[in-house]
């Protein structure tokens, strides 16, 4: 009795600590506008609240919980989870406020190329020209919003599935790192956050993964890390290729160069406007390939994709959701932000290479999907296939194709977490992922069946769901640039429908009125989704419908970004291409 009450006391104390933290953070955030009322638009809403805060909060939560005596840690699970969810909801509130323009007058659709909202720069490592530089435009904001949407939904969906007190804080850490990648306007900072995202994901897979989790975690880490190192090499080369400026040297920058993306973009643009090729043709091509390699592995594109199915199959639901939903988008985001912006000439040079990679990812990925026997593996390959569409949109070199590719990133970012959450629930409730080991589950688990059907349909590009807008816009662009090649992606639409419908037929349908459960499972163990899973899936379904029916909510800024990109960065180049053709 006394032990119980002392447990309770400890629990209450811990809870009060966390609650204080939450309330304090909330008060701090809310007090911002009070103190700076006249200059609310001037406040840096990114650095502290969206990047530093989640990272620090997760570290504090982890530290707090880990210092508890043995046996007491489990008591911390709930308050820590609640705090993590609360923090991520705070961040969601800020990013949504940014979108709706409640935090200062922000217009996302009138930005020119290399113009950013919330543009703030602080000196970091002055001697090397490294600064902490954040900003958002029509490309990065959708990704930021996506991150802030998906992380709390992931936390809700996997509320009960993954025990342990450091699961949710890791997701929070992940959120901070991902946001860091999307807001960074300094290459050094970009790279730091780029690699930081690996750490929480590595531990998520290692701790809560499946049977082969050690192998999968290592493969995931090493594979993407290797590619990132090549990318780093490209970044450093890029850094040293710039002319040292006396102005910077006078201000204590030893090398006279900076990692600032804004400066580099300016230089590239000025060169393009003069009709010359920035850094020279061969150097541009080499850098383009180096950077692209890093991003293509992350995307992933065939043939650099094999880490993805392994990582997904072994990863826990939360890991898969974040990995597919946001982490893959880092690759596509990086492509837009660096190689496509800086090296338009090389893009024109390698247009057909990208076309080939995109087509192969798309077609090959979908055919491999058809041959999978593991539900999660199938969904993982479908991600490869859909990311092929992003590459096609880029290869089309049309503003519409770019905007469609960005929309695909966003749409896939809300659809694929739902796919993986359904797979995760499947695994959670039926302890298997083999397609064909069950029949007629829709009867035992109507909600699981319903959400599976919905997300499968969303992924195969059903109109009025988010994926369709992306597909049709990209394919319009592909037709305009490559003509009849568009038949291949169109064929993939059939194959995609094929593997999704076939997998449903062999899992949730059939059974002649009886539910066929996997071997060794008792009939009374067949349960439907838990309330948490239900809420999470419902939220994702609503988002998919919302952005499918009213795509312009987010489309307009993407389209504006793509247009600006073409007007100011590629206009001269495209004249050149069109004239040559």
């Amino acid at each position: 009795m006394s032990e119980n009450s002392s447990k309770k006391a400890i629990f209450e104390r811990e809870f009060s600590i966390v609650a204080t933290l939450v309330v304090g953070a909330g008060a701090l955030l809310l007090s911002f506008p009070l103190f700076f009322e006249e200059a609310v638009g001037e406040i840096d809403w990114i650095t502290i609240p969206m990047v530093a805060f989640p990272i620090l909060a997760s570290i504090i939560l982890l530290a707090l919980a880990s210092q508890q005596p043995r046996g007491m840690k489990e008591n911390m699970a709930f308050p820590v989870k609640a705090a993590s969810l609360g923090f991520s909801l705070f961040i969601l509130a800020i990013s949504s406020a940014l979108f709706f323009g409640w935090l200062g007058s922000i217009d996302w659709t009138t930005l020119k190329i290399n113009e950013y909202n919330m543009n703030h720069e602080y000196t970091w490592i002055n001697s090397l020209g490294i600064s902490w530089h954040v900003g958002l435009d029509g490309l990065s904001f959708p990704m930021l919003w996506l991150t802030t949407l998906i992380i709390p939904i992931t936390m809700i969906t996997t509320w009960e599935e993954n025990s342990g007190w450091y699961h949710h804080p890791l997701l929070l850490l992940m959120e901070g790192a991902l946001i860091g990648v999307f807001v960074a306007l300094d290459l050094f900072m970009f790279y730091v956050f780029w690699e930081l995202t690996l750490i929480p994901m590595f531990f998520l897979i290692l701790k809560w993964g499946g049977k082969d989790r050690r192998y999968a975690a290592q493969k995931f880490f090493l594979y993407t890390f290797t590619a990132s190192v090549i990318m780093l090499l490209g970044i450093v080369t890029l850094y040293f290729l710039q002319d040292p400026s006396q102005y910077l040297i006078d201000r204590g920058v030893l090398t006279g160069r900076t990692f600032s993306m804004i400066d580099m973009t300016n230089n590239a643009q000025m060169a393009a406007n003069d009709g010359s090729v920035w850094l020279g043709e061969s150097m541009q091509n080499a850098l383009f390939l180096m950077l692209m390699l890093g991003f293509l592995v992350k995307l992933p594109a065939v043939p650099f994709h094999t880490w993805l199915p392994d990582a997904h199959v072994q990863a826990p639901t939360s890991g898969s959701m974040v990995l597919a939903g946001v982490m893959l988008k880092m690759g596509a985001y990086g492509m837009f932000r660096l190689p496509l912006t800086l090296f338009p000439h090389a893009l024109a040079e390698y247009q057909y290479l990208l076309l080939a990679i995109g087509m192969i990812s798309l077609v090959y990925g979908s055919i491999v999907c058809l041959g999978q026997t593991n539900l999660k593996r199938m969904v993982a390959y479908s991600s490869v296939s859909h990311m092929g569409i992003v590459i096609l949109g880029i290869a089309s070199m049309q503003p519409l194709g770019f905007a469609g590719a960005i929309f695909m990133m966003f749409a896939h970012g809300i659809i694929s977490p739902m796919l993986f959450s359904v797979c995760g629930s499947f695994k959670h409730h039926y302890h298997t992922l083999e397609i064909g080991s069950t029949r007629g589950l829709a009867k035992a688990s109507p909600f699981l069946g319903g959400y599976m059907m919905f997300s499968w349909m969303a992924s195969l590009g059903l109109p009025l769901l988010a994926g369709f807008v992306a597909e049709i816009t990209v394919l319009v662009a592909v037709w305009m640039t490559f003509g009849w090649w568009v038949l291949l992606p169109a064929l993939v639409l059939v194959i995609t429908a094929g593997y999704y419908l076939w997998s449903m037929q062999r899992t949730i349908f059939e059974g002649s009125g009886d539910v066929v459960l996997p071997e060794g499972m008792a009939a009374e163990d067949a349960r439907d989704l838990s309330p948490w899973e239900n809420i999470g899936n419902l939220l994702m379904a609503l988002l998919i419908v919302l952005f499918g029916v009213l795509p312009w909510i987010i489309w307009d800024m993407m389209s504006a970004y793509a247009n600006a990109h073409f007007y100011f960065n590629m206009g001269g180049l495209l004249n050149l291409v069109a004239g040559g053709a």
């Binding site: 041959g371 519409l400 349908f509 489309w555 053709a581």
Partner: protein, 741 residues
């Protein structure tokens, strides 16, 4: 308030009703009141459908009266912008594009809107009786009604859309709903298989349509009807690409309307509940393909395309002719009452394709008046067929439902247990029926009227339009360059007789003769709600003469074709002389068409039914009396049956008959294509991915491990080796510096 302001509600109301019904169903399943008054969502669905029907009527009346007042413009409403973007043209400049949703009404869409909203309402009422009285459906009717209203919304949206993108979007929504509804009994492997097949087969067509739309966008920079149908814009486009676009769009229509060679899904779609069959086959989905082809008319009519697209039109007619003939032949040997109707649907839709093909050919070759006539006849046939087939499916549903109940009843009274073993008894097999005319008078009369319309018995609905289609196909043969139309023309002519046979066969096998099983002798027509749509549609079908008299066909052709034709106002007598005496608008008799007309009538009305009577006719059992309106047919059939005996065993046992029973092996071919080529190929690809691509990565992995193990062997742990290495290293360094210096 204008009707067009509320028109957006026609697709939106049902879409909003769907989640409401599904949600309430999840909440209240098992509740007595939800089952009783609310019919598990059926009441909501019916109310929504009624509102939508009234709105449609309002809209239609407004359109018709505006048109008759000389204000002939299409009603167009712009609802809003969806996405906007910019495009690079070949010349390096940017164009701003906007994709909006708007609504447009012309005669064809008005007709289809009426067909869809009217039939959807009736089918919904029918479902209240059919679905809610069957225990199998208990606690899941809400799913039926939810998917049902979404399906209807898809059809309304497709008909109203003013651009091809939204047409495609709603087209796909219908595809989804047909998947969901065919697979309503998802636990049955056959239903699950059929649903998948329907979705995939139509999807194959859909992607061609999709690519066609991409071409359209590239050529016109827009999907709006107003832009795309503009003759000047068509003139500016690349003729070759326009042709490719039309062909691709036609493949989409072929998939949706179940034409050869993408027809395999439709017979299997019978796995869905009967109201779904009525919905898919009559009211909505299959008409979508026809609607799409009808929408292609302006391309063929454009002066820039004159004479260019004749072969596309011929292909459309050809596919129509082949499908009509093939489906009718397969219908000869079907035992399942719904399968007969399914093949009949394919065959009749193929008629419409033939008619449209002729219309498109005429207009492309400058024979505007003939085009106008063929187009109107095709659209009128669509209307007649939808009404008749909707009724036939509901009537067959009524038969199946009552057979089922009678069987259930017998089982209970005999064995004393209510175990539901349907495996031994097929309530859809016509071999188990017979003599139902006296037991189910309303159904029997309805089915007789529907069959008569499909066969084309003079003066009833389908007659007027079918004559027009057959006549148009033959007329095309006579014109220069239309010689190949002889193939579809002969095929549709033959099919007319075959239709007479198989429709009569179905009716006589079901309703005439003596009951072939005990179940059939105990059938009672008692289910509520079912007679309402049957009676309504019987009058609708028999009233075909009124529509014909109002020159409905001519009206349909009038503004959809955008032809400015001055034709004399028509009246019934004119129509009759036109149909029976082949009097042209100039009052001249065309002897050739006269022969064709009377051949068709002879084949379809006399020869076909005659054979069916002699083989399947028969008097009712003693003491059973049919309604007077159909009693004489049964008496006649009994007389013919006993007088003329035909031995058809040569045919019945021939290889042809086996092939027909196996649906000409199309399903086997497609299945083996999937199972023997596509699936093994995908497994091979999966193997390739795991072993080769990932194998290389694993090779690098093990290779580097190996290498590191080899390097590790250098660290021997012995101080002597390290000193040695340090010395060698220092030497090397010195050599290097020396060399450089």
């Amino acid at each position: 308030m204008e009707a067009s302001e509320l028109a957006i509600l026609i697709p939106v109301l049902p879409i909003l009703a769907m989640p409401v019904i599904l949600f309430l169903g999840q909440l209240f399943n098992g509740n007595a009141k939800w089952k009783g008054f609310w019919k598990e969502g059926g009441t909501i669905a019916t109310a929504v459908m009624a509102i939508v029907f009234l709105l449609s009527l309002w809209l239609i009346v407004g359109h018709v009266s505006a048109f008759s007042e000389g204000n002939g413009d299409d009603v167009v409403t712009d609802v809003g912008n969806w996405v906007s973007y910019q495009l690079f043209t070949e010349h390096g400049d940017m164009k701003v594009q906007e994709l909006g949703f708007g609504m447009q009404l012309d005669h064809v869409s008005v007709m289809l809107l009426f067909v869809a909203s009217f039939l959807c309402l009736l089918i919904c009422i029918f479902s209240l009786g059919y679905m809610n009285t069957d225990e199998v459906n208990e606690n899941r009717n809400h799913r039926f009604y939810g998917e049902f209203v979404l399906f209807c919304a898809g059809m309304f949206g497709m008909v109203l859309a003013d651009n091809f993108l939204w047409l495609f979007i709603f087209w796909e929504i219908m595809g989804l709903c047909s998947y969901l509804l065919i697979g309503f009994y998802y636990e049955r492997p056959s239903a699950s298989y059929a649903a998948k097949k329907a979705f995939l087969t139509t999807r194959v067509g859909d992607i061609f349509l999709f690519v066609g739309l991409l071409i359209m966008h590239a050529e016109f920079g827009s999907w709006d009807f107003a832009v795309v149908f503009n003759a000047a814009n068509i003139g500016a486009a690349d003729a070759g690409l326009i042709k490719a676009m039309l062909l691709l769009m036609f493949i989409g229509a072929v998939g949706k309307s179940a034409q050869f060679p993408l027809h395999v899904w439709l017979p299997d779609a019978m796995e869905g509940p009967t109201p779904v069959s009525a919905l898919i086959h009559a009211a909505t989905m299959v008409n979508a393909g026809l609607y799409l082809v009808a929408r292609m008319f302006p391309f063929f009519a454009a002066p820039a395309m004159a004479g260019e697209l004749g072969d596309v039109a011929l292909l459309i007619a050809m596919i129509g002719g082949i499908t009509a003939f093939m489906a009718a032949a397969i219908a000869f040997v079907q035992k399942d009452i719904k399968k007969v109707l399914a093949y009949s649907t394919m065959s009749q839709l193929a008629y419409i394709f033939t008619g449209l093909g002729a219309a498109l050919w005429f207009v492309n070759n400058g024979h505007d008046e003939l085009a106008f006539f063929a187009f109107g006849a095709s659209m009128f046939h669509l209307f007649n067929h939808a009404m008749a087939k909707g009724m036939l499916f509901m009537a067959s549903g009524s038969v199946i439902h009552e057979m089922h109940h009678a069987h259930h009843h017998l089982e209970q009274s005999e064995d004393g247990h209510d175990e539901d073993d349907d495996h031994h008894f097929d309530a859809q097999d016509m071999d188990n029926m017979g003599g139902l005319a006296s037991r189910m008078p309303i159904t029997a009369i309805a089915m007789a009227a529907g069959s008569a319309s499909i066969i084309g018995i003079p003066l009833i609905g389908g007659f007027w339009s079918k004559e027009g289609i057959v006549g148009s196909a033959w007329k095309a043969v006579m014109y220069d360059g239309g010689g190949l139309f002889i193939i579809p023309a002969i095929l549709v002519l033959l099919t007319a007789g075959m239709t007479g046979f198989y429709m009569s066969r179905m009716w006589f096998m079901t309703f005439a003769g003596k009951p072939k099983t005990e179940v059939a002798a105990n059938v009672e027509e008692t289910t509520p709600f079912i007679p309402i749509p049957l009676v309504t549609l019987t009058f609708m079908t028999l009233g075909g003469i009124l529509f014909a008299g109002l020159n409905f066909a001519g009206w349909l052709g009038e503004n959809s074709t955008h032809l400015s034709l001055s034709h004399a106002p028509s009246h019934l007598w004119h129509e009759i002389t036109h149909a029976f005496l082949a009097l042209g608008s100039d009052g001249q008799m065309d002897p050739f068409i006269l022969i064709i007309t009377w051949t068709t009538i002879l084949l379809s009305m006399v020869i076909g039914p005659f054979y069916a009577m002699s083989l399947y006719g028969g008097k009712l059992a003693k003491g059973q009396k049919a309604h007077w309106s159909i009693a004489w047919i049964i008496t006649l059939s009994g007389r013919i049956h006993s007088t003329y005996k035909f031995d058809n065993s040569i045919w019945a046992e021939s290889g042809l008959s086996t092939a027909l029973r196996n649906r000409l092996y199309f399903d086997q071919w497609y299945d083996s294509l999937m199972l023997k080529i596509v699936v093994p190929f995908s497994y091979a690809a999966a193997w390739f991915d795991r072993r080769i691509i990932d194998g290389v990565i694993k090779g690098i992995e093990t290779g580097s491990q190996e290498a590191s193990r080899n390097i590790r062997s250098l660290t021997t742990g012995s101080a002597r080796d390290y000193i040695m290495m340090a010395a060698l290293g220092t030497l090397a360094l010195f050599l290097l510096i020396w060399g450089v210096a």
